[in-house]
């Protein structure tokens, strides 16, 4: 079964708006990562947050992690049409170090 589940499954916004995607997971983790996948391409790593961290920033990306709720969120600020892609969270569980488990993804469409 999938460890991570993203919400919503699909999100459509206008350019300039913020996009928020959520990820929930089931078991204790070492870290959580977010990846991006453009249509027909491989996944690209965006950001990693460790279990002892609560928030991390990278450019227009902000990731939060709440281990008590077993959830994470990815915020993309001032979205651009080029941000249109699928976004996946992936977790490394304590008992499966190095074997990332992916959620089903959120498909983000940013309209110009």
């Amino acid at each position: 079964s999938q460890q991570g589940e993203e919400d919503p499954q699909a999100l459509s916004i206008q350019e300039g708006e913020n996009a928020t995607m959520n990820c929930s997971y089931k078991t204790s983790i070492n870290n959580l990562q977010w990846y991006r996948q453009n249509s027909g391409r491989g996944l690209v790593h965006l950001i990693l947050i460790r279990s002892n961290e609560r928030e991390k920033h990278s450019g227009r990306l902000r990731v939060t992690l709440d281990t008590s709720k077993k959830s994470s969120s990815l915020l993309i600020t001032a979205s651009r049409a080029a941000d249109t892609a699928s976004y996946f969270c992936a977790t490394d569980a304590n008992t499966n170090a190095g074997k990332s488990t992916f959620g089903d993804g959120t498909t983000l469409t940013v309209k110009p």
Partner: protein
């Protein structure tokens, strides 16, 4: 971009035939992984490798085998392809086991008729 090459990128085959997908890396990373991605779903781990001749099963390993005779190459074999193995297969590599950061190839699209 990380130096990961998957071949073939596209393949159509018939049920019952053997298929081998190749992943080649130029990064000298120790860890290599094979995932499959099905429409509307995330990636599911098939097999992974911790080093040369050191492999283990992932979540969906039935019907698949792997081999790693050199650091740079990780082969995924479907001994007798079935229609349920129609999917996009991604190879990934990582340098450290606990950093979690995976670098992905561009994928191999396999259709089993």
């Amino acid at each position: 971009d990380a130096g990961i090459t998957q071949s073939p990128r596209h393949k159509v085959t018939e049920t019952g035939t053997p298929v081998t997908l190749r992943c080649h890396q130029t990064e000298n990373h120790r860890y290599m992984y094979w995932y499959r991605q099905d429409p509307g779903h995330g990636l599911r781990l098939i097999h992974y490798s911790y080093g040369v001749k050191d492999t283990d099963k992932g979540e969906v390993s039935d019907g698949y085998s792997v081999s790693r005779s050199k650091t740079e190459d990780f082969l995924l074999t479907l001994e007798s392809a079935t229609s349920s193995q129609t999917s996009v297969y991604f190879c990934a590599i990582s340098a450290e086991i606990n950093t979690g950061e995976l670098f992905f190839g561009e994928g191999s699209r396999l259709t089993v008729l």
